[in-house]
Symmetry: C2
């Protein structure tokens, strides 16, 4: 676990919504606030802070606004956790994909 628990960060539906928004492209803080009508500006700003500190988003100043962009690499942590369980659910993968997966297993953890 890092400083902030990635699972906890992502467990919040609002934050997942923000990530989903950003997956469609960059958005300024203001646009994100507008996109989240049930939340006030400080609330959105706090969520963005959490995402920032988790490394899931990056900010770029653009004039007087701050443009947020997705930085999904942080999700690798969760992906790797999940990966250990993928073998347990029924195969909907092709034999080739299974092979690749098994080959990846041999690489061992990062």
């Amino acid at each position: 676990m890092s400083v902030v628990d990635m699972f906890t960060v992502v467990a919040d539906p609002t934050r997942r919504a923000l990530l989903d928004l950003l997956s469609a492209g960059e958005r300024s803080a203001g646009e994100l606030v507008i996109a989240m009508p049930r939340l006030t500006q400080p609330a959105v700003s706090r969520h963005l802070r959490v995402l920032r500190e988790a490394g899931l988003v990056v900010v770029r100043p653009d004039g007087q606004r701050r443009v947020y962009a997705l930085h999904a690499e942080g999700l690798v942590e969760i992906d790797e956790w999940i990966a250990r369980y993928r073998r347990y659910w029924p195969r909907h993968l092709s034999a080739l994909e299974e092979h690749l997966e098994r080959r990846n297993d041999k690489k061992g953890p990062t």
Copy 2:
């Protein structure tokens, strides 16, 4: 989201620890309690209940004991969420794997 939010279920470190234990094989409730020395029996039992209701574990009675087994299919939900972001992190995949991934994209969601 289902009845219980899978992200929330998995966000708890104790529950992840239980899942990890079960990924090594079946365990009776008692064995799990012993494996979690910092928790009391009711506490472990409550976590197992959450995992059960989330569909992440299954129970099988065995005499006077209850044997738990991993039922990782429920994690597909998280896996599918993550899948939408995988394209955003730098490739450590081979071209072949990229191809497979793109092909899977076209299949659309389950």
